[in-house]
Point group: C2
Chain length 229, copies 2
């Protein structure tokens, strides 16, 4: 038997491969991702996967793009559930959604921001669209704050010249915001990322403060710092 007839074939094998990959990542962690294990579960042979993904890294990239997309959606939905003029409320909602998504899909979060696949380096240009969009929710709010003159970022380091072209590409995926707003958003992002990634990776000493309360404290500190009055 060399090729199953169309009736016994799996329809949309490309999607099936990704779904099985996610399933195994959820069960055994992103580090244990294995083409052969995926093939085994789908009852095909490992090299068959190469018809749909040129190599393992390409599959990982596809997974990362899907994860970024889900992550971005999650934050955008949280933002849009708030009153349109309540920018502080929007920023807080986005921050809470950020952590909620990460706690719900810790493996996906690690796949994006950790380095669970040995030797894998995400190709920036392929990932940029979904990655840019995943950061667009906080940037949009901060840009509105800036326009309303309510952004408190005195002394924030100036943006360096020379990146205009790169930024234009980014803008084409994330929305037409000011580069200064992006910079401030990146710093705020680094704060929530710091707390969430330590929490997920279990790198914090296992005693002390409730995770929800600590995160809320940090979120409020940040909002107080960057939003005027």
């Amino acid at each position: 038997m060399v090729r199953p007839s169309k009736k016994t074939q799996i329809p949309n094998l490309q999607e099936a491969i990704k779904e099985t990959a996610w399933k195994q990542i959820a069960e055994t962690g992103a580090a244990a991702l294995s083409l052969r294990a995926i093939a085994r579960e789908l009852k095909i042979t490992a090299p068959a996967i190469y018809n749909y993904f040129p190599d393992r890294d390409a599959l990982v990239t596809a997974l990362i793009i899907d994860a970024y997309t889900s992550f971005g959606d999650y934050q955008i939905i949280a933002r849009d559930a708030q009153a349109e003029d309540d920018l502080a409320g929007q920023l807080q909602a986005i921050g809470l959604a950020y952590r909620q998504w990460a706690l719900e899909y810790p493996q996906r979060y690690q796949l994006i921001f950790g380095t669970p696949i040995p030797g894998y380096q995400a190709p920036i240009m392929e990932v940029l669209p979904s990655a840019a969009r995943s950061l667009s929710a906080p940037v949009s709010v901060i840009d509105q704050l800036r326009i309303a003159n309510r952004l408190n970022a005195e002394g924030f380091p100036a943006v360096q010249p020379g990146y205009e072209q790169m930024f234009d590409v980014w803008r084409s995926f994330a929305g037409n915001y000011d580069i200064f707003s992006l910079s401030v958003a990146m710093l705020i992002w680094s704060r929530v990322h710091g707390l969430v990634s330590l929490e997920i990776a279990n790198d914090m000493p296992p005693f002390g403060v409730d995770g929800d309360a600590l995160y809320m404290y940090e979120l409020k500190s940040t909002i107080n710092q960057f939003i005027k009055r």
Copy 2:
């Protein structure tokens, strides 16, 4: 030939294995760590390593402990180079040292805080001594601030009961500080970790602000927030 005579043996093979591991990690990244590659370079066979480390994970744990120790030393030295009564200066020096160490040894930083080894989970109880000590520098300064009534952490979430025993163990390695100071230090740690880890992993959009300046801005923001006046 089954066992080389003592003259041709490598003295202190245990150390040599670790050194070679570090060398290869620095060259090709922590993810590419391979017992067989280490053995090849030392001109021994791979199973010989098992005389010194029960398995690959044990070697990784030993490397992590060494890294934590180096990391902790680095911060303690930076703190002690400041005037004894300049607590804000000490905290800033520790923060700068934190990033400096991470940029000098990005692979070691990733080995500690990332998950570059598939399936590896650090055994808390083995790592705790060096890990606790690596956090002791900021904790010590914050505890002094607290004692001097200069710590500004109103509304900081209360420490939960039930972890007293764990905390006592931690204290035996890191020093006799208050658990509240540890909690605040953890939050500050998460901030520097967020920024540094994104910078090292190259996860930030590649445009905008100078890394040194951004880090300094965040450090000053944090010091302003947590130190009274």
